[in-house]
């Protein structure tokens, strides 16, 4: 048995009113990849913040034993000195600065008052090569994609001489291809003896990469599963630990929904990039949606899915539009106005709920009514009681967990925020809902509830366009699937005939052709 590098014993951390961690135990062997899974709010990030010294010694109970010694970190610098480096979920890079500057930010080479730039850049280049990046470290971070930025974060961690690397949802904003590359990089680091802890929601990644899996639920460790058996641990097995019950079906069945006539039809839809008008972000796309139908649009990140949806929604993205939009068989001349799209009963539920979807500093009530204030007001004066009743109605309907609809949205968990966002658009009473990554970054239980809502919408005769980069989700939820790659629709399949393999094949083939 290998040596135990890190042991966290009986960690208890209380915030005013809540016990975030309750006697959590974690053992990590040297040279292994240890996955930490659990629903949102289970306490994974809190545990890692305790480990890295963000919550200093004294604010929690229990012991951290690292490399045989009891550690008392009072800040991040202390833990980094021992080689414990955490890469946070949200990228912590300054876009305007170069890769090299970013990598040594707060850790500058040379003297404090005389930075050694030659050393900075040559060292940075060395680490970039290790993570497989060919970019020069003198390139500005904003010019490279998210996938590469994530690699820069890792290179930055390596530059800090990491021995124990903690990755908090490293692939949450990466497409499948980049995610796979990242996981393979982790495996190659493992061969070189690096120890890693990965926090992730994507269970397929867990079984692919992890040696051991620790499940945390409601602030306590439930179990640690060994992933060295002949068969990789099944996702169902992990989910069982996470939610405390067997989830036989991750996608609720949609039964007896009658699919009606074509509600929305888009033909030869072309949109250009707002900053580089010569570049097409949506290229000659044609698609249709029937009443009561859930249509999946699958594509890798950057395939133009979001751009397509937003351009249909009142041309809220892009320039130089061309193409035709028909609603209920009637040709519609859409103006460049979101309000106009809402009037035509189209709703776009954004993938970026915090950035583009919700007003976090306002209550659930205010957010719910925002897209359809007219419905609860007369002569622009809001009827507060009506508004409250509406918010209550949707809170119950969508089972938003909150003490009151006066609660600020910023205080809710990701899954509940997503439900508020859905409530807002359902209240706008659309016929066509463009759902862009509706389950991103939310836990399994909340995902299931969102799927149920989607089914209810379809049953009510609405058209649902489900945009997702999670293949199982698209396969599990859609009646029909469009496959998008490099701004074009490259394939269309019925749900019955679609499999992971043939969808990936379509994408790969189209990529070669272009």
């Amino acid at each position: 048995m290998a040596k135990i590098l890190l042991e966290m014993k009986n960690i208890t951390k209380t915030f005013p009113g809540v016990k975030a961690l309750d006697n959590v135990n974690l053992q990590v062997e040297e040279g292994e990849i240890h996955a930490l899974v659990g629903e949102n709010g289970a306490g994974k990030s809190t545990l890692m913040n305790v480990l890295s010294g963000i919550y200093p010694h004294g604010t929690y109970e229990g012991d951290i034993i690292y490399d045989g010694q009891v550690c008392r970190f009072s800040n991040i610098k202390d833990s980094e000195k021992l080689g414990i480096v955490i890469i946070h979920q949200e990228l912590a890079l300054v876009p305007e600065m170069t890769i090299g500057e970013n990598m040594y930010l707060g850790n500058e080479c040379g003297h404090k008052y005389a930075i050694d730039w030659n050393k900075t850049y040559s060292e940075a280049d060395k680490y970039l090569k290790m993570v497989g990046l060919s970019e020069s470290s003198k390139v500005q971070v904003k010019t490279i994609g998210t996938g590469k930025q994530q690699l820069v974060e890792i290179a930055k961690a390596l530059a800090k001489k990491a021995r124990l690397l903690i990755l908090d949802e490293p692939t949450s904003s990466l497409n499948e291809e980049d995610s796979r590359a990242l996981l393979d990089l982790m495996l190659s680091f493992k061969k070189q003896g690096m120890t890693m802890i990965i926090i992730t929601h994507k269970l397929n990644e867990v079984s692919y990469v992890a040696d051991k899996i620790t499940v945390i639920r409601d602030g306590t460790t439930i179990e640690t599963i060994d992933n060295h058996g002949k068969e990789p641990v099944s996702e169902e097995r992990i989910i069982k630990g996470m939610v405390g019950r067997e989830m036989t079906n991750r996608f609720p069945k949609r039964e007896g929904v009658k699919i009606g006539d074509v509600e929305m039809e888009v033909s030869h839809w072309t949109v250009h990039h707002p900053l580089y008008p010569e570049r097409k972000v949506v290229d000659d796309v044609s698609l249709y949606v029937r009443k009561g139908e859930v249509v999946g649009i699958y594509g890798l990140m950057g395939a133009g899915r979001t751009e397509l949806a937003m351009s249909i929604f009142g041309q809220s993205y892009g320039v130089n539009f061309s193409g035709e939009l028909k609603l209920n068989g009637k040709h519609v001349k859409l103006k460049k106005s979101e309000a106009d799209a809402i009037r035509h009963k189209i709703a776009y539920v954004t993938e970026d709920r915090k950035g583009n979807g919700l007003v976090l500093s306002q209550s659930i009530k205010v957010n719910t009514s925002l897209a359809n204030l007219d419905a609860i007001s007369s002569h622009t004066v809001i009827d507060g009681d009506k508004e409250y009743a509406v918010a209550e109605e949707y809170r119950e309907k969508l089972r938003i967990k909150t003490p009151s609809v006066e609660q600020l949205v910023g205080n809710l968990s990701g899954g509940n925020q997503q439900k508020v966002l859905l409530a807002k658009w359902m209240f706008a009473e659309p016929d066509v809902l463009l759902l862009d990554e509706p389950t991103r970054g939310i836990d399994v239980g909340a995902k299931y509830e969102i799927y149920c809502i989607i089914n209810d919408l379809a049953a009510a005769g609405k058209c649902v366009v489900l945009i997702s980069s999670e293949l199982p989700e698209v396969l599990g939820m859609s009646d029909r699937i469009y496959i998008m790659n490099e701004a074009r629709i490259v394939g269309e399949m019925k749900a019955e005939e679609a499999t992971q393999e043939n969808i990936m094949q379509v994408i790969l083939r189209s990529g070669r052709g272009a």
Partner: protein, 435 residues
């Protein structure tokens, strides 16, 4: 029994205090009412200042406080809407106040009708606001810069209009309605309608004389007292109705807390009416202030436009994607503050009985400070008219108090600066604790 309790609590005194604080939500209370408490504390300190006891709450002082700060209330209301859109401020209001006043005074000096002049002043303010708003909303010039330009330009225009000289107002009815002189009060119509009151309110009436005080009883303004009583009753009725509706809908808000605050505000209203009645009665400027505060409290909380102001400040992209024309929200906020600057110009000219080319300098800063002391976020999206009122009152009371106590005018500014800094620090700290 008692002993054992003592034994338990004494070593863990801290814990019991924190338990107490959690149980009664002391922390949340302090966080919500920090500035209100500060206002109370500051008032008490000045009230008991050795040698100056009780002066700060003299009827004449209170009337003066309202009159001197009329422009602050009006401008801060407009400023609050701008700040809500995302911490944007309007630096030009001081100059716009002076410019509209200059135009108005010049018009009246050449014999123009008073109400026509008022209308022109408001329209000029609105036009200037709309013009600046156009640059900010449509051409996306940063608000700070667009209004900085306005600050210079309209100060310059003022000098052009006034030729660098003071213009006096001779129109007495203008001064009566918007001014601050002895005649700028609601006349005591009750005494005219019921002449018997004159015989009742005498020093010989032991009850009234005891209640009001022998110095005030003969000229006690009954009308003013009635207005305050009616206002208090109306307020209580509306509040009770609101609480009942909330109860019916099952909205879980602390009912005892609401009752306490309702009673307190009603009592304050009556008290204020009493104090004013003891001096000269209900000042005309208070009508304008109350009107502005009332209208905008309503606009910010009950109308779609108010909602849009908060939403834009909270998350502009999300608001745009909800079908709101966000640029128009900015335009509204800036056109609106122009209009209110016009009104502030009217009040300033009325109070000063004329206009000097340097009037209005620094007004923008008073307005901005009131909003931030009153809890508006420097990033937009949060802030209330009620908070702003507290902020403006706090500044006003400190000014008045320092004057009574006799603090050097130069140090008064230092104190104001420190108050602003501490107020915002409290705000930031209390919000950080929450996380």
């Amino acid at each position: 029994m008692t002993m054992s309790v003592m034994d338990h609590t004494s070593p863990n005194g801290k814990q019991t205090v924190s338990e107490f604080m959690q149980k009664y939500k002391v922390g949340a209370f302090f966080q919500k009412y920090t500035m209100t408490l500060a206002l109370v504390v500051v008032t008490i300190v000045f009230y008991f200042w050795p040698g100056k006891q009780g002066q700060i709450l003299q009827p004449s002082m209170i009337t003066g406080l309202i009159a001197e700060n009329a422009y602050v209330f009006v401008l801060a209301t407009g400023m609050l809407l701008c700040i809500l859109t995302g911490g944007n401020i309007d630096l030009s209001v001081g100059s716009v106040v002076c410019f509209t006043a200059a135009v108005g005074c010049t018009m009246m000096a050449s014999g123009a009708n008073m109400w026509l002049t008022v209308l022109v002043m408001l329209l000029i303010g609105l036009a200037i606001g709309a013009f600046q708003g156009f640059w900010i909303a449509k051409l996306k010039v940063p608000a700070f810069i667009a209004t900085l330009a306005g600050m210079y330009a309209f100060r310059g225009f003022t000098n052009v209009v006034l030729n660098g000289l003071r213009v006096d107002i001779t129109n007495q009815s203008f001064l009566d309605v918007f001014g601050n002189g002895k005649t700028s009060y609601i006349p005591d119509v009750m005494r005219t309608w019921f002449p018997g009151l004159n015989d009742t309110f005498t020093k010989d009436n032991a009850f009234l004389s005891g209640l009001i005080g022998p110095n005030f009883v003969t000229k006690f303004n009954v009308t003013c007292m009635c207005i305050a009583l009616i206002a208090a009753v109306v307020f209580v009725v509306f509040k009770v109705r609101k609480i009942l509706v909330q109860k019916k809908l099952g909205i879980s808000q602390s009912v005892p807390g609401q009752i306490v605050s309702t009673v307190l505000i009603a009592a304050l209203t009556v008290w204020l009416g009493f104090q004013l009645a003891c001096y000269r009665g209900f000042p005309m400027v208070l009508i304008w202030i109350a009107l502005v505060l009332g209208i905008y409290a309503y606009v910010t909380t009950k109308t779609a436009m108010g909602r849009h102001l908060y939403a834009v400040g909270g998350n502009e992209k999300a608001t745009a994607l909800s079908g709101v024309k966000t640029r128009n929200v900015y335009w509204f906020a800036y056109a609106n503050i122009g209009l209110l600057a016009g009104l502030a110009g009217i009040l300033t000219a009325g109070r000063a009985k004329g206009i000097d080319p340097v009037y209005g300098e620094g007004y923008e800063m008073d307005a901005i400070a009131s909003c931030f002391i009153g809890g508006a976020s420097a990033y937009g999206g949060t802030g209330k008219v009620s908070g702003m009122i507290i902020g403006a009152l706090l500044m006003g009371v400190i000014n008045k108090g320092m004057m009574i106590v006799g603090v050097d005018a130069n140090y008064q500014k230092v104190v104001k600066g420190i108050v602003l800094l501490i107020a915002v620090m409290f705000d930031v700290l209390s919000k950080r604790q929450k996380r």
